[in-house]
C-alpha cells in the first residue's frame, strides 16, 4: 500500500529472493524491465503478422484483375493490417520503450504501480490474441480501421467480424489507458532528486505528453465502440440511419480519437529521435525548451483538427474552413521540430551508426509525409485526394517513414541496454539500405496512383488505366521490405545472444540509463542518483568548455567506437553487480499472479460477448461474462489486499 514502495527504503524488510528464471517468473513478473521485454517481443511478433497481412494486400494488387484473394478476404486484410500495426505492433513497441527506458531515464527503481504495469501487458496480450484469432479464422474485421457507420451495423454486417473489432479494441484500449495512468504518475512522481521537469530527458517528456493523449483520446474511442457494441448486441439506435442514427456522429467520435491517436504514435518517436541525434552528433539537443513546448502545443492542437478527415462529408463551409486552418496551424510546431533536429546535427561530430542513419532517414521521410499532410489540409484539394491511394501514401510516409523508422533508430540505440549486447552494424546497414529503397519503392508511387484516381480499399482495378507498372513497383517494394525485415529480426535474435558486449554506455550518451550496467540489475540503481542537469553524463565535458550550458563535446570523439570504450562514470566491480536486491537491502515488490488473472477476467467479460452473434450452441454463453465479472471482482479484492505491495 505504501505509495513509494519502489524508491529506496533502506529499513523496509527486503523481499524474499525472486525466482529469476522460468516461464512462471515471466508470468508473474512486476519488473518494468521484464515487462518491457515482453512488450518488445510481442510487438515484434505482431509487426511480422501485420507485415504478412500487408503482403496479402500488395500481392492481390500486383497485377490488374487479380484474384489471389477474394474481395471479402481483401477487406479483412486491409482492416486487420491497420489494426495489427497500430494497436498490436507500433503502440506496444513504443510501450516497450516506455517500460524499459523511462524508469531508467528518471532514475527510478520501477514504475509507480508495478502490478498495474503487468496488468496492462496482460490485458494487451489477451486482446491481441483475440484479434489474431479473428484473423486466422477469417473472421477478422472487414470495415477499415475507422469502421464507418452504418456498414458496421448488424443488419449490414451480420457475422462476428465487427464484434472482434469492437471487443478486441475495447480490451487493447483498456490496456493503454491503464498504462497511461501509470506512466503519468511515474514520470511526475518518481523522478530522481534534482530532476526538475525541465531537466527531464526529452524522451521522457514526449512519453508524458503521449500518455496524456492516451488517457484522454482513448476514452472517447472507448465510448464510441461501446455505442457500436450496444448497437450490434442490444439493438440500440446510435448509428442506424433507419431509426434516426447519424453516421456522422460515429465519424466525429472516431476522429476525435483518431487524430490524437496518430500523435500518440509519433510523439514518442520525436522523443527517441531527440535522444539519438544529440548522442551521435555529440551535441546537446538544439532547442530543448522549444521542443517541449511545441509538443505540448501539438498535444492541444491535435484535439482541434479531427474533421480534416471529414472534408468530403459536407460539413459546410464554416466547419471546413475552421478545420483546414487548424490543420495548417498544427504543421508549424511539427516543422519547428524538424529544424531543431537539423540544428542539432549542424556543426556536430556526427557518427553514422545504424541508429543514426535511421534517425536521419526519419527526418527526411517524415517531412515528406508532413508535406502531403499539408496538401490534405487544403479542403478543396483534399476532395481530390481523399479515399484515394494518395492518403495511403501520406499515412505510410508518416507511419512507416515516421514511426517505424524512428522505432528502428530507437531499437538499435537502446538494444544494448536491454540485452547487454550490440546489434550487428553490418546487418544493420543492410537493413537500413533495404528499408530505404523498399519503402520509397513501395510508397512513393502511391502518391501518383492516388492522383490518377486509384481508390483505396478496393480489391482490384482494370488493366487499362495506366496504373499497372506503379502497382507492380509498389508490390516489389513491399517484398523488399519483407526481406530486410527478415534481416532485422535475424539481427535481433542473433545479437541478443552473440552480439559484442556493450558495456554501460556504448554510445557515450548523456542520460541516466547509461550510467548503470547493461542489462541493468533488477533494482536498476544501486544508489539513487542526484541530478544536476539535463545531461548528467556529459557534465564533465561541459565543464571543460564554459559557456555552453549542457556541454558540446570537442574532445576524443573517435575514442568512442562502437563496442569500444565505456564512457559511463559508474563502474561496478563485478562481484557487486551480481549482488541481489536482497543483499543490498533494496525493497522490490514481490511477483504477483493477480495481474494475469485479472486480465483473463477482462478477456472473459468481453470475449464471451462475441458468441452473442454466433449461431448454434455457442449462442448463449452469457454466463461466461458473468464468470468474467466475478473473476475481475475477486482479483481486484485479492490485489488490493495482497501483502508486500
Amino acid at each position: 500500500m505504501a505509495s513509494t514502495a519502489t524508491v529506496a527504503a533502506p529499513h523496509a524488510p527486503a523481499a524474499a529472493p525472486h525466482t529469476e528464471t522460468g516461464v512462471w517468473s515471466w508470468i508473474t513478473t512486476v519488473d518494468h524491465k521484464r515487462i518491457g521485454i515482453l512488450y518488445f517481443f510481442s510487438s515484434i511478433f505482431y509487426f511480422l503478422v501485420g507485415g504478412i497481412e500487408a503482403l496479402f494486400i500488395r500481392t492481390q494488387l500486383i497485377v490488374p484483375e487479380n484474384n489471389f484473394i477474394s474481395a471479402d478476404l481483401y477487406n479483412q486484410m486491409f482492416t486487420q493490417h491497420a489494426l495489427t500495426m497500430i494497436f498490436l505492433a507500433l503502440m506496444p513497441l513504443t510501450a516497450a520503450f516506455f517500460n524499459y527506458i523511462v524508469p531508467l531515464q528518471i532514475g527510478a527503481r520501477d514504475v509507480a504501480f508495478p502490478r498495474l504495469n503487468a496488468l496492462s501487458y496482460w490485458v494487451y496480450f489477451f486482446g491481441g490474441l483475440m484479434l489474431l484469432f479473428a484473423a486466422v479464422t477469417k473472421m477478422a474485421p472487414n470495415v477499415g480501421w475507422f469502421a464507418y457507420a452504418p456498414i458496421t451495423e448488424r443488419q449490414y454486417n451480420p457475422g462476428p467480424n465487427v464484434d472482434f473489432y469492437v471487443l478486441g479494441l475495447q480490451i487493447v484500449g483498456l490496456s493503454s489507458i491503464l498504462a497511461g495512468i501509470n506512466f503519468i504518475v511515474t514520470i511526475l512522481n518518481m523522478r530522481a532528486p534534482g530532476m526538475r521537469l525541465m531537466r527531464m530527458p526529452i524522451f521522457t517528456w514526449m512519453v508524458l505528453i503521449t500518455q496524456v493523449l492516451i488517457v484522454t483520446a482513448m476514452a472517447v474511442f472507448t465510448i464510441a465502440i461501446t455505442q457500436l457494441m450496444f448497437d450490434r448486441m442490444f439493438g440500440t439506435t446510435f448509428f442506424d440511419p433507419a431509426r434516426g442514427g447519424d453516421p456522422l456522429v460515429w465519424q466525429h467520435l472516431f476522429w476525435m480519437f483518431g487524430h490524437p491517436e496518430v500523435y500518440i504514435l509519433i510523439i514518442p518517436i520525436f522523443g527517441m529521435i531527440s535522444e539519438v541525434i544529440p548522442t551521435f552528433s555529440r551535441k546537446p539537443l538544439f532547442g530543448y525548451n522549444v521542443m517541449v513546448f511545441a509538443s505540448v502545443l501539438i498535444g492541444w492542437l491535435g484535439w482541434g483538427v479531427w474533421s480534416h478527415h471529414m472534408f468530403a462529408v459536407g460539413l459546410g463551409p464554416i466547419a471546413d474552413a475552421f478545420f483546414a486552418l487548424s490543420t495548417m496551424l498544427i504543421a508549424i510546431p511539427t516543422g519547428i521540430k524538424i529544424f531543431n533536429w537539423i540544428g542539432t546535427m549542424w556543426g556536430g561530430s556526427i557518427r553514422f551508426t545504424t541508429s543514426m542513419l535511421f534517425a536521419v532517414a526519419f527526418i527526411a521521410m517524415f517531412t515528406l509525409g508532413g508535406i502531403s499532410g499539408v496538401m490534405h489540409s487544403v479542403a478543396p484539394s483534399d476532395l481530390q485526394q481523399t479515399d484515394t491511394y494518395f492518403v495511403v501514401a501520406h499515412i505510410h510516409y508518416v507511419f512507416f517513414g515516421g514511426t517505424v523508422l524512428g522505432l528502428f533508430a530507437g531499437i538499435y540505440f537502446w538494444f544494448p541496454k536491454l540485452f547487454g549486447r550490440l546489434m550487428d552494424e553490418k546487418l544493420g546497414k543492410i537493413h537500413w539500405v533495404g528499408t530505404m529503397v523498399g519503402m520509397n519503392l513501395a510508397f512513393f508511387p502511391m502518391h501518383y496512383l492516388g492522383m490518377y484516381g486509384q481508390p483505396r480499399r478496393t480489391f482490384t482495378y482494370p488493366g487499362d488505366l495506366g496504373w499497372n507498372w506503379m502497382n507492380l513497383m509498389s508490390t516489389l517494394g513491399a517484398y523488399l521490405l519483407a526481406l530486410v525485415t527478415g534481416v532485422f529480426v535475424w539481427n535481433v535474435i542473433r545479437s541478443a545472444r552473440k552480439g559484442a558486449i556493450a558495456g554501460d554506455n556504448p554510445w557515450g550518451a548523456a542520460t541516466l540509463e547509461w550510467s548503470i550496467p547493461s542489462p541493468p540489475p533488477v533494482y536498476n540503481f544501486r544508489e539513487i542518483p542526484i541530478v544536476h542537469s539535463r545531461m548528467p553524463l556529459w557534465e564533465e565535458d561541459a565543464s571543460k568548455e564554459p559557456g555552453i550550458p549542457h556541454g558540446k563535446v570537442a574532445e576524443d570523439v573517435n575514442a568512442i567506437t562502437v563496442g569500444g570504450t565505456q564512457v559511463g562514470e559508474m563502474e561496478y566491480p563485478d562481484a557487486e553487480s551480481k549482488m541481489s536486491a536482497h543483499d543490498l537491502g533494496i525493497h522490490l515488490p514481490p511477483p504477483s499472479y493477480w495481474p494475469i488473472i485479472l486480465a483473463f477476467g477482462i478477456l472473459l467479460v468481453f470475449g464471451s460477448l462475441i458468441f452473442r452473434n454466433l449461431d448454434g450452441a455457442l449462442h448463449n454463453l452469457w454466463y461466461l461474462s458473468v464468470a468474467g465479472v466475478l473473476l475481475v471482482a475477486v482479483s481486484i479484492f485479492k490485489w488490493a489486499f495482497e501483502p508486500g505491495h
Binding site: S3, H11, I223, G244, P529, E569
Partner: protein, 213 residues
C-alpha cells in the same frame, strides 16, 4: 554526476518522498478521473448531438419528434429531484466519513461510510424504479435515439454508483474490523474522490438531461 549512498538515505528519510511530494495513488486517481471526464463527456456529447432527433416517442419532455408526431414527456422531475438530493447528501456523508477517519473517530467513520453507501443504494433504487417505469411506458434501449442515449448515459453512471457502493462498503467493513485508522485515511480520501466525481457527473446529467429542455 554525484552519487548518494543508500546508507545516507537512511538518515535522510525525506528521500522517501515522491518528486512532487504528492501521494502516488492520489495522483493516479486524479488521472483516472481525468480519463473518466472524457468517457462521460463523450456520452453527454452523443446525448446532445441526438437531442430532438428521435423519430418516435417517448421523448424526455413533451414535444414533437423529428417526424412531427406529438409525444409525451416521460421524465419525472419531482422524483428525480428527490434522488438528486439523495446523491448530494451522500457526498456530504462522504466528506464527514473522511473527517471522522482523519480524527480517528471509528464510530463516526463506520456510521458515515455506511450511510454514504446506503444513500448510494437508495439512489440506485430510484434509478431502478425509473428504468422500470420507462420500460412499461414504452421506452427501451431500442425504442429511439432518446432511449439509446439516455439509458447508456445514466446506466453507465449507475454502474459507477454501484461500484462506489461496493467500494465504500468494503472500507466500512475495514473500519468495523478496526483496520481503518487515520494512517490509512488516504484510502478513504481516494474513495471520496471517486464518489464525489460520480456525484459531480450527476449534477451535469441532472441539469442537461432532466432540467434543460
Amino acid at each position: 554526476m554525484s552519487i548518494v549512498n543508500a546508507a545516507d538515505h537512511a538518515a535522510n528519510p525525506a528521500h522517501l518522498d515522491t518528486s512532487t511530494g504528492l501521494d502516488n495513488r492520489k495522483m493516479a486517481f486524479w488521472t483516472f478521473i481525468g480519463s473518466e471526464c472524457l468517457l462521460f463527456g463523450s456520452l453527454i456529447a452523443t446525448y446532445l448531438a441526438y437531442k430532438g432527433r428521435s423519430l418516435v416517442g417517448p421523448l424526455p419532455h413533451a414535444g414533437r419528434t423529428l417526424t412531427g408526431q406529438q409525444a409525451e414527456g416521460i421524465l419525472d422531475i419531482p422524483l428525480t429531484s428527490l434522488s438528486t438530493f439523495v446523491l448530494l447528501m451522500s457526498s456530504l456523508g462522504m466528506v464527514l466519513a473522511l473527517a471522522a477517519v482523519q480524527r480517528a473517530d471509528r464510530k463516526g467513520a463506520i456510521t458515515w461510510l455506511f450511510a454514504t453507501a446506503g444513500l448510494g443504494l437508495v439512489f440506485l433504487g430510484f434509478q431502478a424504479y425509473e428504468f422500470n417505469h420507462f420500460y412499461h411506458a414504452g421506452l427501451t434501449l431500442q425504442t429511439n435515439l432518446f432511449g439509446s442515449t439516455f439509458f447508456l448515459l445514466t446506466g453507465f453512471h449507475g454502474a459507477h454508483v454501484l461500484v462506489g457502493v461496493i467500494y465504500l462498503g468494503t472500507l466500512g467493513m475495514l473500519a468495523v474490523k478496526n483496520q481503518l485508522g487515520p494512517e490509512r485515511s488516504m484510502s478513504v480520501e481516494i474513495a471520496g474522490l471517486y464518489w464525489h466525481f460520480v456525484d459531480v457527473i450527476w449534477i451535469v446529467i441532472f441539469a442537461l438531461v432532466y432540467l434543460i429542455k
